[in-house]
């Protein structure tokens, strides 16, 4: 009976969201426009959009960040840049960091609650498999490392983590710390020169350097305690 109730809730939530999208036209139009806007990958456009909500701009920015987290392929750095340009780099960074945390937590819970099949639909099976391998390889540190590496998808990692045995608070902490350097650098760069690819590239390079350093440290640590290594942890990961 308990399982049945759970199933009802699961299906119910999906139906409500699908219903909102299908039957309430403004919702559908807004979502389509947001996807189109994200696909432009243009910081000024994102900035203008957020700005147009006036006093509600920070709130809209927050929800945009959560939205892009759930819809995994949309790029988050657009919002981070726009936030920095609109609210200054310190406030912008705080806003970006908090909203990204909320988004990550939501992804984690979606994956935990609905399991692999839905997560696969929201990201892609291939991406999720890659993240699995990454988790198996790096065990506990996986999330922290993944957050530091600029080329690992933030959102896919969140979904992936929800499918493993990693506890929520452990996930939350690793995410919070891991995304801090990238958020700070992006915000600082975004505040100085919006849209300049040159500074973006150097920012990316800095992050990359930091991550590479950490990677090396981690690797040497693993080699030191080879015996209790993470190989055994591999089997238990395919939750669901």
């Amino acid at each position: 009976m308990k399982i049945k109730n759970g199933l009802f809730v699961k299906i119910g939530i999906i139906l409500v969201i699908a219903g909102l999208y299908i039957f309430i036209e403004p919702v559908q139009i807004t979502v389509k426009r947001l996807v189109f806007m994200f696909s432009m990958v243009d910081v000024p456009t994102m900035k203008n959009y957020i700005l147009s909500f006036g006093i509600w701009a920070p709130v809209v920015s927050f929800f945009l960040m959560v939205f892009q987290s759930v819809a995994a392929p949309l790029p988050a750095f657009l919002i981070t840049f726009a936030n920095a340009a609109l609210f200054g780099w310190v406030k912008g960074a705080i806003l970006s960091w908090t909203s990204a945390m909320a988004g990550a937590a939501l992804c984690y819970w979606i994956a935990r609650f609905y399991g692999r099949s839905l997560a696969e639909r929201l990201v892609s099976r291939f991406a999720l498999d890659e993240v699995d391998i990454f988790f198996q390889k790096h065990g506990k540190y996986a999330i922290f490392i993944a957050r530091l590496l600029p080329f690992v998808s933030f959102d896919v990692v969140s979904y992936g983590a929800g499918l493993t045995s990693i506890g929520f608070w452990e996930f939350f902490l690793a995410t919070g710390l891991g995304q801090l350097p990238a958020t700070l650098i992006y915000s600082y760069v975004g505040d100085m020169l919006v849209g300049s690819v040159k500074t973006l590239v150097s920012g990316l390079l800095i992050i990359f350097a930091l991550s590479a350093l950490l990677f090396a440290v981690k690797k040497s640590m693993r080699e030191k305690n080879r015996l209790p290594g993470p190989q055994q942890a591999g089997g238990e990961n395919s939750a669901n």
Partner: protein, 274 residues
């Protein structure tokens, strides 16, 4: 081996090596089409620059190249020296997407600043290109925007990136930064390039209107978040792709005139496109 045989052996070896070198050298150049492109059939042929001419002028200081593909496609390969623009760089995107006039050309003074930040002045040849067959034709839009402001040196790459690649010309993956310029002079926009909403509404039923979008969009698709689906009353459907060949080059003037005639439009007609 006698000395006679030796001499033949050496000669043959030499020939093979020479042939191989010649073969390689040829491969480096142009494998497919080498024939010159003939633009003489087009009335306004000066909007085009041929890939051959662009290739010859690559690296010269009097030419600027802009990539109008999606910014995410640009790093996968662009013409050497080309700067990425996306589609909206010369547009006003203040306010919300979907607001009235969101995405129209920037006013003259603002456009001047943006163009200067991309290194555009009145002396440059400015080339725009995209993967033509992918749409949505942002390269053509840029040429239109600049010519509207009297920059008649704005040109569209004939056959786009597709023909460029088919000719075996190089592409590059490194991003290119624009070098800002100063002193650009723009004229007031030639309003003959535009039809405003009011103009279209007033002339409904008199002016011919062509809907160049896909048939799905013409018939009401709203997958890009259009507030309402459908088309302007009496608009004729002629998808943009119908005027292109499979290799991304435009059809000949005669072919285009014939296609337009089928739709009830002659070169003398006044018509509005969207």
């Amino acid at each position: 081996m006698g000395s006679y045989q030796k001499a033949i052996f050496i000669a043959v070896t030499f020939l093979i090596v020479a042939a191989a070198i010649a073969g390689c050298a040829k491969n480096d150049k142009i494998p497919v089409v080498e024939k010159e492109i003939d633009l003489s059939g087009y009335k306004n042929a000066d909007i085009f620059i041929t890939p051959q001419e662009l290739h010859d002028r690559l690296g010269q200081e009097d030419i600027l190249i802009f990539d109008a593909n999606k910014p995410t496609d640009y790093p996968k390969g662009h013409i050497p020296g080309a700067v990425s623009l996306g589609w909206q760089s010369f547009c006003d995107t203040s306010g919300k997407i979907g607001d009235a006039n969101w995405g129209v050309t920037l006013p003259k003074e603002e456009l001047k600043e943006v163009l200067e930040s991309y290194g555009i002045d009145n002396n440059q040849t400015i080339v725009f290109y995209s993967d033509v067959l992918n749409g949505p034709g942002a390269d053509g839009r840029y040429v239109w925007q600049l010519r509207k402001a009297d920059l008649d040196n704005a040109k569209l790459l004939y056959g786009g990136l597709e023909l460029w690649k088919a000719l075996g010309y190089d592409t590059d993956t490194e991003p290119v930064q624009p070098v800002p310029a100063t002193g650009l002079v723009l004229k007031d926009y030639d309003e003959g390039y535009n039809a405003t909403k009011d103009y279209v509404a007033q002339n409904l039923g008199q002016t011919k209107i062509i809907d160049a979008r896909t048939l799905k969009e013409y018939e009401g698709d709203t997958s890009r978040g259009e507030a309402r689906g459908g088309h302007i009353p009496d608009a004729i459907h002629l998808e943009w792709k119908e005027l292109l060949n499979k290799d991304a080059t435009p059809k000949t003037a005669e072919e285009i005139i014939a296609i337009m005639k089928d739709k009830g439009i002659t070169p003398e007609d006044d018509f509005v496109l969207y």
